[in-house]
C-alpha cells in the first residue's frame, strides 16, 4: 500500500511517499527525520493538536484560547468539539491551567491569561 502526503511538521511542506511492505511502513521524500515519523504516523494513525476557545462565564464577550496538551486522534475532532462547546471557564485564568482533565485522550489547557 502507498500513500502520497504533504508533511506538515514545518512550513517546508515536503511531499512524502509512504509505503507499506509486509506490515512495515516507510517514508521517502522527507528532508528531516521528523518528516519520516510524521509520514508513517499520518498514514497509519493521524493525530492533530487542536486549538480552540471556551467562553469565560464571568466576563463579557471574552473567550479563553485553549489547546489539547497532546495531539489527539484526527477522527475524534468532532467529538472533542462537542465536549468543548459544553465547557466554560471562570476568570481569573492563567495560561497553562487545565480546563478539562480528559478530552478524547488529552488534557485541555489554557493558552492565555484572563484577569
Amino acid at each position: 500500500m502507498k500513500k502520497e502526503l504533504t508533511c506538515i511538521i514545518c512550513p517546508r511542506g515536503c511531499a512524502l511517499t509512504v509505503t507499506e511492505n509486509d506490515g512495515v511502513w516507510t517514508a521517502t521524500g522527507n528532508a528531516c527525520p521528523r518528516g519520516a515519523t510524521y509520514g508513517v504516523a499520518e498514514a497509519t494513525h493521524p493525530t492533530r493538536t487542536i486549538t480552540t476557545l471556551v467562553r469565560v462565564k464571568n466576563r463579557v464577550d471574552t473567550m479563553l484560547s485553549v489547546k489539547t496538551e497532546n495531539p489527539i486522534a484526527k477522527e475524534r475532532i468532532p467529538e472533542l468539539m462537542r465536549l468543548i462547546h459544553q465547557t466554560s471557564a471562570l476568570a481569573p485564568v492563567k495560561a497553562g491551567k487545565v480546563i478539562l482533565e480528559d478530552a478524547c485522550g488529552s488534557r485541555i489547557i489554557a493558552t492565555r491569561d484572563v484577569e
Binding site: R48, D61, K67, I77
Partner: protein, 415 residues
C-alpha cells in the same frame, strides 16, 4: 515634552522583540507605544499553533508566543504605554501620541517602526453586487470569533487562500459553520502547505483555484455569491459562473504594510514590498528611523518577524550609543522571477549580509545567484520555491569589497 532614547511604535511581536534586543544591546531607556489595551498585536487573535518552532524550539499558539515576549519586556523593566496611538513622527524624531492622558510629545534618539499591516478590504477588490451585511475581512472575523466569541455566520465562502483565509476556514468549521468553498483567483495557493492540509483537506473543504467571486447577492444580509473561473487575465469567464448560497463571505486577499506614519515622516517606501526601503540594519531613508516586521515586509512566520526586529533593535541601540557602523552603500535589485529583495541597499561592512526575497510564482528546482556585475557573491539551490514562502540568502563575510557597485539577485531555473 519628554525624551526617550528609543521609541518603538507598535507592541506586537516586532515591537516587543525590537525593544528587548535594543535593551540587551545596552540602551535601557526604551518605550513601546501601542494603541490596543495590551501588548501582543495580531498574535492575540491567532489562537492556532505553529508559532515559535524556529525561534524558540517549541510549538506555541499566538497568545503563548506573545506572552513569551511580553514576559521578556517586563523582566527588563521596559516601559509600555497601551491605548496610546502615535499620530505623527517627524524626520527629526519627534513622536506625537494621543491617549486618555492627553497629547504627548516624545523626543527620541531613534524610532523603530513596528506597526504591522492591515487587510485589503472589499473596496479595493472591485467585486460587483450589492452591499449586504455578512462580508468581512478574514482577520476581522478572526477577531470577532476568537476574542469576542461572536460566530459571524453559518454558511461561509472564503475568497483568497492566504494563511488567514485557510486558518479561518478551519476555525469556522470547528465552531459549527459550514464552509462551502475557498476560492483563489491565482492558479496556486499563497498559503503554507501545512495550512492547506490541516485547515482544508482535514475538513473536506473544497479549494477552487483560478476562481473568484464575481458577484455578491443579498439586500439586508448576504444571500449568496456567484463564483466563476478566471481567464489568464484574471477576468471571470461568464460560462463558468455558478451561484453558491451563503450568509458570510470572508476576504483573505492580501495584506498591506501600514505605512501612513512612515510616509508622513518622509520615509521612502519600496513599491514592491509596500514597506520602507532599508539597509541591512533595517534603517530607513530617514536616519534614526528603523522598521521591522509586517510594516516592513509581510512575513509568513512570526519567528522571522522576531529575527528581523532584533536586527532593527540592535541597530537602533548602536546608533544611540554612537557605535553604528558607517560606510558606502550599494543598491540591491531583484532579477527576473523575483518580486522583491530586502534590504534594498547594503552598507559595505565586513559582516555577512542576509537577503530576504520572494519569487513571483511557484518554481521547481532552481538556483539563486547573487551577483555584483559579473562577480558571483553567493549562490543557493532550492528544490522548490513558492511566493508564499520567503527565501533567505546569505552574502558571506568579506564579499562586499571595493569593486561592488550594485547587487542583483538572479533566479536560474534548473532542469
Amino acid at each position: 515634552m519628554i525624551a526617550h532614547d528609543i521609541v518603538v511604535v507598535g507592541g506586537g511581536p516586532a515591537g516587543m522583540a525590537a525593544a528587548v534586543a535594543a535593551y540587551d544591546r545596552g540602551v535601557n531607556d526604551v518605550v513601546i507605544l501601542d494603541r490596543e489595551e495590551t501588548m501582543g498585536g495580531i498574535l492575540r487573535q491567532c489562537v492556532h499553533n505553529g508559532f515559535g518552532l524556529h525561534k524558540l524550539g517549541r510549538e506555541l499558539t499566538g497568545p503563548e508566543y506573545a506572552a513569551h515576549y511580553a514576559a521578556e519586556v517586563k523582566k527588563r523593566g521596559i516601559r509600555t504605554l497601551s491605548e496610546t496611538m502615535v499620530t505623527s513622527i517627524t524626520p527629526d524624531l519627534l513622536v506625537t501620541a494621543t491617549s486618555t492622558r492627553g497629547i504627548q510629545k516624545i523626543q527620541a534618539r531613534a524610532v523603530i517602526l513596528a506597526m504591522g499591516c492591515r487587510e485589503r478590504a472589499r473596496g479595493a477588490l472591485n467585486i460587483c453586487g450589492t452591499r449586504p451585511a455578512g462580508v468581512y475581512s478574514a482577520g476581522t472575523a478572526q477577531k470577532l470569533v476568537n476574542c469576542e466569541g461572536y460566530l459571524v455566520g453559518k454558511r461561509v465562502v472564503i475568497l483568497g487562500s492566504g494563511d488567514i483565509g485557510l486558518i479561518m476556514a478551519r476555525r469556522m468549521t470547528l465552531e459549527g459553520a459550514k464552509v462551502a468553498a475557498v476560492c483563489e483567483i491565482l492558479p496556486y495557493s499563497g498559503g503554507l502547505k501545512r495550512n492547506i492540509v490541516q485547515c482544508l483537506e482535514d475538513y473536506h473543504i473544497p479549494l477552487y483555484l483560478s476562481t473568484t467571486v464575481s458577484e455578491i447577492h443579498g439586500n439586508e444580509r448576504l444571500e449568496g455569491v456567484t463564483i466563476a473561473q478566471v481567464d489568464e487575465n484574471r477576468r471571470p469567464k461568464p460560462e463558468t459562473a455558478r451561484f453558491i448560497p451563503c450568509d458570510t463571505l470572508l476576504l483573505s486577499c492580501g495584506l498591506i504594510p501600514e505605512n501612513e506614519l512612515s510616509r508622513a515622516a518622509g520615509v521612502a517606501i519600496d513599491r514592491r514590498t509596500g514597506g520602507a526601503a532599508v539597509d541591512q540594519f533595517r534603517q530607513t531613508s530617514v536616519p534614526g528611523i528603523y522598521a521591522c516586521g509586517n510594516v516592513l515586509q509581510v512575513h509568513d512566520l512570526v519567528d522571522y518577524v522576531s529575527d528581523e526586529a532584533e536586527i532593527a533593535g540592535r541597530a537602533a541601540a548602536a546608533r544611540v550609543l554612537e557605535e553604528a557602523p558607517t560606510g558606502e552603500t550599494v543598491e540591491t535589485e531583484p532579477g527576473s522571477g523575483l518580486r522583491y529583495v530586502l534590504p534594498q541597499r547594503v552598507m559595505k561592512t565586513e559582516e555577512p549580509v542576509d537577503l530576504f526575497l520572494r519569487v513571483t510564482r511557484p518554481f521547481g528546482k532552481l538556483k539563486f545567484v547573487v551577483k555584483a556585475g559579473e562577480r558571483v557573491l553567493a549562490t543557493a539551490s532550492r528544490p522548490v520555491a513558492s511566493p508564499g514562502e520567503m527565501e533567505r540568502l546569505r552574502i558571506p563575510a568579506g564579499a562586499l569589497t571595493d569593486g561592488v557597485e550594485k547587487i542583483v539577485v538572479e533566479l536560474e531555473e534548473e532542469a
